[in-house]
């Protein structure tokens, strides 16, 4: 009477595996939340062509002066601060969903870039960084001779 049910349970698989997976997921979630800055902010899009790469980021409501963009070989680092609205006497928040604080993102580009020719435009809360590919890194065309 007991055994068939027991066998059934074994077939479902180890419940511990699911538990461990859940635990890992929770750890990942909470470790991110305890950091003093946002890990995945801002979200980036990367557009590539043969001669350059464009990185776009949605960073609404920051002072472009506070944005720090640095390039070293193939690594692009974006950092800045999003400040919270300062409340005056007698003002209260009903709802607060927008994030604030310091953020840093580092991105490894698909090729070496010419750091002197990097241009950045911040418009309508979207940052566009254009990074031209380094001259020595550009692909060379090889002609095939026929004899």
């Amino acid at each position: 009477m007991f055994w068939p049910a027991f066998r059934e349970m074994r077939r479902i698989g180890s419940p511990w595996f699911e538990m461990e997976r859940l635990q890992r997921e929770m750890d990942r979630l909470f470790s991110g939340a305890s950091l003093p800055f946002a890990q995945n902010f801002p979200a980036l899009n990367l557009w590539t062509s043969e001669k350059d790469v464009i990185v776009t980021a949605e960073i609404p409501g920051i002072d472009p002066e506070s944005l720090d963009i640095s390039v070293l070989d193939e690594t692009l680092t974006l950092s800045g601060t999003r400040t919270l609205e300062e409340l005056k006497e007698g003002e209260t928040y009903h709802r607060q969903e927008r994030g604030h604080g310091r953020f840093t993102r580092t991105l490894v580009l698909p090729f070496k870039v010419n750091a002197n020719k990097v241009t950045a435009v911040y418009e309508r809360g979207v940052l566009n960084v254009t990074l031209p590919r380094a001259e020595e890194d550009k692909p060379k065309k090889i002609k095939v001779k026929s004899e």
Binding site: N40, L46, I54, L87, T92, G99, R124, G125
Partner: protein
């Protein structure tokens, strides 16, 4: 048992996503909920929404029967001759509605957009403002 059922029903009506008037865009674009901060000052309610990619021409604010709707339609990001090698975000329309109380003066709503952040100031109607009452000595 009865109260639990009532509670469940209430919860459903609270979390039900269908607004008073359900609408659907004619364009086949994704619709995102912008993140919003709402704060109350002495004489107004201020609503601040993150809408990256939106400027004063691509945002609309409507007020109908105490429902305030914010809509933003940014231009789709596309660079000709480029491949999208990494995509962490997608560009789509923004839409979000809030129901206002009668205490808002609908005729005096003021809105501005800067750096992709929309700021709507909803002034409180006269009777809703806190008034100071002087106490006279008898």
């Amino acid at each position: 048992m009865n109260s639990k059922a009532a509670e469940k029903q209430e919860l459903q009506s609270h979390t039900g996503t269908s607004p008073a008037v359900e609408t659907e865009g004619t364009r086949n674009r994704k619709i995102y909920l912008p993140r919003v901060d709402i704060l109350e000052t002495g004489d107004a309610i201020v609503l601040i929404a993150d809408m990256p990619g939106v400027d004063e021409h691509s945002v609309t604010i409507t007020l109908e029967k105490n429902v305030l709707t914010l809509t933003g339609e940014p231009e789709i990001e596309h660079f000709k001759g480029y491949n999208l090698a990494l995509a962490e975000y997608d560009v789509g329309d923004y839409q979000r509605s809030f129901s206002l109380s009668d205490q808002i003066d609908g005729g005096k709503i003021d809105a501005s957009v800067k750096n992709g952040v929309l700021r709507v100031t909803l002034p409180k109607a006269e009777p809703a403002k806190a008034r100071k009452i002087n106490v006279k000595a008898a």
